[in-house]
């Protein structure tokens, strides 16, 4: 058994390590922050008005037990923690099952005593145990910071089961289709849909029952630090077991190297966008760009729809506007300030999108799919530059799409924001995404094993750094290391042109460094 699970363990260890730090880390920061901010009981009571605002409910879920550090942290970070861990679980599931199978590495495994369903089950099991480890670390974080054991256990169990469910969803998708990226796409779409359902369930009272269909809703129904119910957790565990069971059964009903859904293996050729390198770069980006666009536009449409309600709430409760200002989001009480803050967050998905595109390029190189391209009379530097330009184009379009969606939502909700303001705000986030692209290209040139991790660092790491510096009053120079320090709150204030230019300048340097390294180094594969 141990020898069989070793390959799976090896495949997930680095990601697991990051989750073991990130998930409990995020929560303990908020617990400490809560104690610091709400030292005074009167302040704590003022939090209760949060529960009454529908927009707050849609964004963060229904708040409960806000008078405890644990309850506040569960409400404030629960959805984010589940979303991060679930994303990791489902992407890892498709990577270590379908990805390994697709690469041919399972062929050897399958010639041994184990049959396909058993191999799938073992990989899933390893991933489920990984979620238990992360959940345990999360519970430990709550308990160690003195947030109360019972609520911590209920919450951590809920997070663990939710992540398990998405590990199972990823594994199931990997049985349905024969291509890892497609499987990841379907599983991610399920997660996105579930998030949307949660927003609807919390925002529209008549549809509150929908909460029981999503792990987010079930986690809320468990009411950690309030009612501490076990029944919703049991439902979640049953869901995870069922989906996992279906995944293993599905594995038994298919052939190795194929999926249950075997779409036609033939189709007439579609030759558009194949006739040049830039065309092909566009064609490669399009499917995933559409996926990201769908997710971002939906999210920012909701953000727009909530703008009026939230800004009115913050104007009525200036204490929260102050708190948000302390956390780096000033001026939330105006529509412009509110969208400016949320558009800064847009830098994270845009940066991750940019880095993930280049990490696909690195994977194509390692899997030798680029060999056929690189034996053409085409310098590697040109290939790399074309990819960069196309990805920047995609990032700009994604930003504009998000801006347009926000403006649409705001107008539908009866508030006022000009389309140009929305575009300006969304495009304001682009330099951080471009910096991610620069970091990813530098990684391709010099450390091609870590393109996604290094590429996502400016956006994800930078944002975390900004939050940490603001929360714990760390020295200013530390905050200056985050690219977010160079973005103005557009459209609430004028753009920081010098800052944006500086970010772009650093990105250009990184891209140059990366392309130089890529052009000179040995190709992998």
């Amino acid at each position: 058994m141990i020898t069989f699970v070793r390959p799976a363990v090896r495949l997930i260890r680095y990601g697991l390590l990051i989750m073991l730090i990130l998930i409990p880390g995020l929560s303990t920061i908020v617990i400490v922050q809560y104690r610091y901010t709400f030292a005074n009981p009167a302040e704590v009571n003022s939090l209760q008005v949060l529960a009454e605002n529908p927009a707050i409910r849609v964004l963060f879920g229904v708040p409960l037990a806000l008078d405890t550090a644990g309850g506040f942290t569960v409400w404030r970070t629960g959805a984010i923690v589940v979303a991060i861990l679930a994303s990791w679980a489902l992407l890892t599931a498709t990577r270590i099952t379908r990805g390994e199978e697709q690469s041919g590495r399972w062929a050897l495994l399958l010639t041994g005593r184990l049959r396909l369903p058993a191999v799938v089950a073992q990989h899933l099991l390893v991933l489920l145990i990984a979620q238990i480890l992360v959940g345990s670390a999360l519970a430990l974080g709550f308990i160690v910071t003195g947030a109360g054991t019972r609520g911590a256990l209920i919450y951590a169990l809920g997070v663990t089961f939710a992540a398990m469910l998405f590990a199972a969803v990823g594994t199931l998708c990997a049985q349905l289709v024969d291509e890892r990226r497609t499987a990841s796409g379907i599983a991610a779409a399920v997660l996105g849909l579930v998030l949307l359902l949660r927003m609807v369930a919390d925002g529209v009272e008549r549809l509150g029952w929908l909460a029981w269909l999503t792990p987010f809703g079930l986690l809320a129904e468990a009411e950690p630090y309030a009612a501490n119910r076990l029944a919703p957790l049991a439902v979640m565990a049953a869901m995870a077991l069922t989906v996992g069971g279906i995944a293993v059964l599905a594995a038994a009903r298919r052939d190795a190297d194929s999926g249950l859904i075997t779409g036609s293996s033939t189709r007439p050729g579609r030759f558009r966008l194949l006739r040049s390198t830039p065309g092909f770069a566009v064609r490669r980006v399009l499917p995933s760009a559409f996926g990201w666009a769908a997710g971002l536009c939906t999210y920012f449409l909701v953000i727009g729809l909530l703008a009026r309600s939230l800004t009115e709430f913050l104007r009525a409760n200036p204490r929260f506007a102050d708190l948000a200002a302390q956390a780096g989001f000033a001026g939330l009480a105006t529509v412009q300030g509110y969208v400016a803050a949320l558009f800064l967050l847009l830098a994270i998905p845009l940066g991750v999108f940019a880095a993930s595109r280049l990490s696909h390029d690195a994977a194509d190189e390692a899997d030798r799919r680029l060999t056929a391209v690189f034996c053409k009379p085409l310098p590697r530097s040109r290939w790399a530059l074309v990819q960069i330009v196309v990805i920047v184009g995609a990032v700009v379009l994604l930003a504009m799409g998000s801006g347009a969606a926000t403006a649409t939502g705001i107008v539908l909700a009866g508030a006022d924001l000009r389309l140009t303001e929305a575009f300006a705000g969304a495009l304001n986030a682009v330099p951080v995404a471009v910096l991610c692209l620069g970091a990813a290209q530098a990684a391709i040139g010099w450390v091609p094993q870590a393109v996604l991790a290094l590429g996502a660092t400016p956006a994800v790491g930078g944002f975390l750094l900004t939050v940490l510096v603001d929360t714990f009053d760390w020295p200013d120079w530390l905050g200056q290391l985050s690219p977010f320090a160079y973005l103005a709150s557009v459209p609430a204030t004028a753009p920081n042109w010098a800052g944006a230019a500086g970010l772009i300048g650093v990105s250009v340097l990184l891209v140059g460094l990366g392309i130089a390294g890529f052009a000179r180094r040995d190709l992998r594969g």
Binding site: F271, S276, C375, P377, L378, R380, R520
Partner: protein, 303 residues
């Protein structure tokens, strides 16, 4: 830049590649003349693929240099105008169909002979409307072969091009190589498939542990290596002791009172002089196959 490079399809001088402590290729000096079909042999791990990846500029040489028709191999934009390549293990984008892949590879390169490509698709019986993700190893190899031959590039570099193909398709590849040769194209063929090399190549290079141990015409290799001789005679046998002392003669065996066999390396003159003392009635000389030559090279330790 070396002299007369334009006539040479491939030239390497002192080409060396190290991966950390491992010396993968040691001082390779090799010239492949334009228009020849050159076989590149060696056991697994000898450095054949490393050599090819250096020629393609995929790897940077630790020392030495390589030229493709006079253009430095590291300069992909210039050197790759002259060549097409088929790797041993072809990886394609799974979502593209065969036809789309061929179109892409045609359009980002310097152009192809479309008529010939259609003919090749027929000859290799390639189902071009299938998605590459559903192709077998052999079918992926066919896509790469069709794409390479269709370029009509002056230099075709093949790394085990038929490892996944059935014998009928292997035959097609041989015919295409012959056709390429007839058009004056150069072929650099790395292969384990010795009968294939024997069938199409005039000259071979043998690589062992990163070193080129032999470059010769196939006919010379045969002549110089291990000829097997069976002699039938009437009456008194030749002087076996004397025969055994001749340089190059080994493995002398009396098959019957009137027949003996021996293996011979190098020129047979001295051995024939001793045999002439007996009344020889039959002489059978069998030249070694490439496989025997190959095994002879690798049976002995490196010097």
């Amino acid at each position: 830049m070396p002299a007369q490079t334009a006539r040479d399809a491939i030239q390497t001088i002192g080409l060396t590649k190290r991966f950390g402590q491992t010396l993968a290729l040691d001082q390779l000096n090799l010239t492949v003349t334009a228009g020849e079909v050159f076989g590149f042999l060696g056991p697994n791990g000898a450095g054949k693929s490393t050599t090819i990846r250096l020629l393609l500029g995929f790897l940077r040489a630790t020392a030495g240099q390589a030229w493709i028709f006079g253009d430095a191999a590291a300069d992909a934009a210039a050197a790759h105008r002259h060549l097409a390549y088929v790797p041993a293990d072809v990886a394609l984008w799974p979502a593209l169909t065969g036809a789309e892949t061929l179109e892409l590879l045609a359009d980002i390169g310097p152009g192809i002979d479309h008529h010939y490509r259609d003919e090749l698709i027929q000859r290799f019986e390639l189902e071009v409307d299938r998605k590459c993700g559903t192709y077998s190893t052999g079918n992926r190899q066919k896509v790469a072969l069709v794409a390479a031959f269709a370029t009509r590039a002056p230099l075709l570099i093949f790394d085990e091009p038929t490892s996944g193909l059935d014998p009928l398709m292997e035959q097609q590849v041989r015919q295409c190589i012959a056709a390429a040769e007839a058009r004056g194209q150069t072929v650099f063929l790395s292969s384990h498939h010795l009968t294939e090399v024997e069938a199409v190549c005039q000259r071979v290079g043998i690589l062992r542990e990163g070193r080129l141990v032999e470059v010769a015409e196939l006919s010379d290799l045969r002549r110089l290596r291990l000829t097997e001789m069976t002699v039938s005679f009437r009456g008194a046998p030749p002087d076996l002791e004397q025969l055994c002392r001749v340089t190059g003669v080994s493995n002398v065996q009396e098959l019957s009172p009137s027949r003996l066999s021996l293996t011979l390396t190098g020129t047979p003159a001295a051995a024939l002089r001793i045999l002439a003392n007996a009344e020889v009635v039959g002489l059978d000389v069998r030249e070694p196959s490439l496989e025997e030559i190959f095994l002879e090279y690798y049976g002995q330790p490196a010097t």
